[in-house]
Amino acid sequence: MGTYLVRRFALMLLTLFGISVLIFVMLRMVPGNIADILFDAAGMIDVSEKAKLEHELGLDKPIVVQYVEWIGGLARGDLGYSYVSEKPALDEIAPRIPITAKLAGLALAFSIVFGVPLGVLSAVKQNSTLDYILRVVSLSGLSMPAFWLGLLILMVFVSSFGSIPIYTDPPKGFWNTLWLYSVPAAAVGFRSSALVMRLTRSSMLEVLRQDYIRTARAKGAAEWMVNYRHALRNALLPVVTVIGIEAAFLMGGLIVTETVFNIPGVARFLVEAIRWRDYPIVQNLVMFIAAVAVTVNFLIDLLYAVLDPRIRYSS
């Protein structure tokens, strides 16, 4: 087990190194840099002023030097300065992480709380009216674009209650925070829960047809025990994988929801930073999201071992 952990950790570091090279090179392949964008708003390019700005920001250095400087800084905990706000990149990135984490966490909770039990129910009541209703609901959850659903929710709020649940100021207190995040979380979670529900259903149906389930029933085990203790635990492996992927995705993939509900989170900030070619922000933010993704994957691998003894024994 110890060797396995060390190997997986080494692989994590290698993946992060690969991502750092990839993002650094790709970002510089995108046309234009911050100087172009800043002059673009003025409708002109002053070549000497642009060159001066590029020199000031170190953009005229060879790409390898720029990369080494960035990685060196990252290792020392110095993320550089945002080209746009001219503030430390860490000060710009850090306050946004809890905002997205809260939203992603609530959305994930929404998807698990609704997706798993309803998926089990749908499988256990296969081909019943309830199953059909749940399948239609889950399919609509997967088909509805998040921005459309988000705007629809906002419109309903405005026309029915005359208020709008969007982020304009940091929420004060627990209930205010919960209220502000729960509406967008429900909009995102609806799609995630639909995915989790469909996957739980199909996984459960497969497991429910296994011999050991029939054996459990033949031994006279209660139906709930068969479903939840014998079947669900084994059906959860692919569901856990998807939940893990969703968790990693939600840290950086909430751009539409953050835009529609005006939440100043990581994803919206990242898109803005890309628009400005704010390299220090983009590079460090992508590295953070990548670190979250690989860490979540790592944790899922560990969870596999907890959920499935065969994995634990074989390792």
Partner: protein, 530 residues
């Protein structure tokens, strides 16, 4: 009985009018909430060239002089003193002296003096040791030879030749006075001004907060305790936020006719105004690239334009046909209709297109042999949509265009290196003034002269109108120049857009300017009737 009733009615009316007068008296307090369409690059007005900066930052500063904030049409006649108490031209019109206000302090408590005015213009003219990161309006002051100070409270601008428009430039929202003791870098992140509001914070993607300047030199102002700009990138969300009362004012000039109709349906009390913004959409042709080096071909292209169709399709009728300068009645300097209709290409569209087709046939093109071109433009809806209409109109004269959307940040670099043949561009004017429009867009050496149109004789006329102090004579010269620019196909103007702003009825004293989108945001006497 009738007399008694009449007396009662009169008394009631009088009481109502007194109540009305009371309601109209400004109230202190409250935070004005405005949504902002984007995070501005910084709040240093001198370094930026978008009204995304002027809107939130104008309240932080003062100018020497300012356009009257409650007269929608900016002109030389509506310029009022601000940090200057008065101004006077020398007899030869080569120097302009301002007497400065006493007792004004910067937001950090330091006193304002004539030195600050000199420092500001030294920065703008690249004469200071400190430098701006960008200096987009350096050319505005090309005619200023020097700025000198006479003691603490007088400053003189020395000009190379007379230029009455200097006052117009000084009155723009783009010309605040900066403090000597604060570096340009700090002005970008934490601006210090003398204006009615102090900067509190700007959080990217979140908000910009300003708070009342308790020591503002205009006693009793501002009325508001502060202004908060909430950055809402999604316009649909922003409109809903306005309808729900989360914001009191929409981002200025950001509403289309359709959006205003939607707002009025959901909130009939909302006040909305649609006005010109002095931004024109224009056709740019690379006159050095064959076959477009042929003036006949360029003329045919200009004759193919149906400007009304652009306005109807793109702006649902909310636009104006004109030349380089914004047309009247809102525009001060634009060609009047009787002159405009004499300009080639502004007459009968069908007749003009007949002529254009004849030119094209003479050049060897026809329905079976169309001229294939790429129409380049920025990959933004405000550019792309008219470019599509343009392509359709050019088809009428055997020009087969293909849209080439260019990544926004690469657009001006591409145009500057002349890597295009035909393009569509938008030109915004900070002030409604011929000096700004002509020198910036048509002078032979200007960086914003995208088509590299160069007419030395016309440049002499630019100088002549610029130096002319007689308003009527100057207007005639301006119209003559504008007509020539259109007939030379220097940069055919397709249309001048009108856009809207909405606010809640309790927001008082808000005036939207009608010939510029850059100059009307001091907000010192706005108050909330809540």
């Amino acid at each position: 009985m009738t007399a008694k009733l009449t007396a009662l009615a009169a008394a009631m009316l009088a009481a109502a009018s007194v109540a009305g007068a009371r309601a109209a008296e400004p109230k202190h307090g409250g935070i004005l909430h405005i949504y902002h369409r984007e995070t501005p690059p910084s709040l240093s007005i001198h370094e930026e060239a978008t009204f995304s900066v002027n809107v939130p930052a104008m309240g932080i500063f003062n100018n020497l002089v300012i356009y009257d904030q409650h007269v929608p049409q900016n002109s030389l006649q509506t310029i009022r003193p601000e940090l200057a108490t008065s101004w006077a031209w020398s007899k030869d019109n080569l120097s302009l002296t301002f007497k400065l206000r006493h007792g004004v302090t910067w937001h950090d408590g330091k006193p304002f003096s004539a030195k600050d005015v000199k420092c500001t213009f030294d920065l703008l003219q690249d004469k200071a040791s400190d430098k701006f990161r960008k200096n987009p309006r350096k050319d505005w002051y090309a005619n200023v030879a020097d700025v000198t100070i006479n003691g603490e409270d007088e400053v003189t601008f020395h000009l190379r030749r007379p230029q009455p428009s200097l006052l117009a430039m000084l009155a723009s929202g783009y010309t605040p006075i900066y403090p000597c003791h604060v570096s340009p870098a700090q002005m970008r992140t934490h601006p210090i001004g003398t204006g009615p509001f102090k900067f509190v914070e700007m959080k990217q993607n979140e908000s910009i907060k300003l708070v009342r300047n308790e020591n503002y030199w205009k006693k009793g102002l501002p009325y508001l305790d502060g202004i908060e700009y909430t950055i809402i990138r999604n316009r649909a969300t922003a409109v809903l936020a306005f309808v729900a009362g989360k914001v009191d004012v929409t981002f200025p000039t950001e509403m289309t006719k359709a959006l205003i109709a939607d707002i009025k349906k959901q909130d009939p009390t909302a006040i909305c105004e649609i006005k010109p913004i002095n931004v024109n959409t224009n056709l740019i042709v690379n006159r050095d690239s064959p076959p477009f080096n042929d003036p006949q071909l360029r003329r045919a292209m200009a004759l193919a334009l149906d400007r009304k169709a652009f306005i109807d399709i793109i702006l649902q009728g909310e636009g104006d046909i004109g030349g380089t300068l914004l047309p009247p009645p809102e525009g001060v300097w634009g060609m009047p209709p009787d002159i405009l209709k004499t300009v080639s290409g502004y007459g009968d569209v069908n007749k003009d297109r007949e002529e254009a087709r004849a030119i094209m046939k003479k050049l060897g093109y026809g329905p079976d042999k169309p001229l294939k071109i790429k129409v380049s433009t920025r990959n933004l809806a405000t550019y792309r949509d008219p470019a599509v209409v343009l392509i359709d109109q050019l088809k009428q004269i055997y020009i087969d265009g293909e849209l080439e959307p260019v990544e926004s940040s690469a657009w001006f670099a591409k145009v500057a290196r002349k890597d295009y043949t035909v393009g569509l561009n938008l030109t915004g004017n900070g002030i409604d003034d011929p000096d700004q429009a002509f020198y910036e867009n048509y002078a032979c050496t200007s960086e914003r002269n995208y088509t590299h149109y160069c007419n030395k004789d016309l440049e002499k006329l630019f100088d002549a109108q610029s130096a002319e102090t007689d308003l009527a004579k100057r207007k005639k010269l301006v119209w003559e120049i504008d007509k020539k620019l259109q007939e030379d196909v220097a940069r055919p103007i397709l249309f001048h857009a009108r856009t809207g702003t909405c606010w809640k009825p309790y927001v008082k004293n808000l005036t939207i300017m009608s010939n510029s989108a850059y100059n009307g945001y001091r907000f010192e006497d706005i108050w909330l009737d809540k």
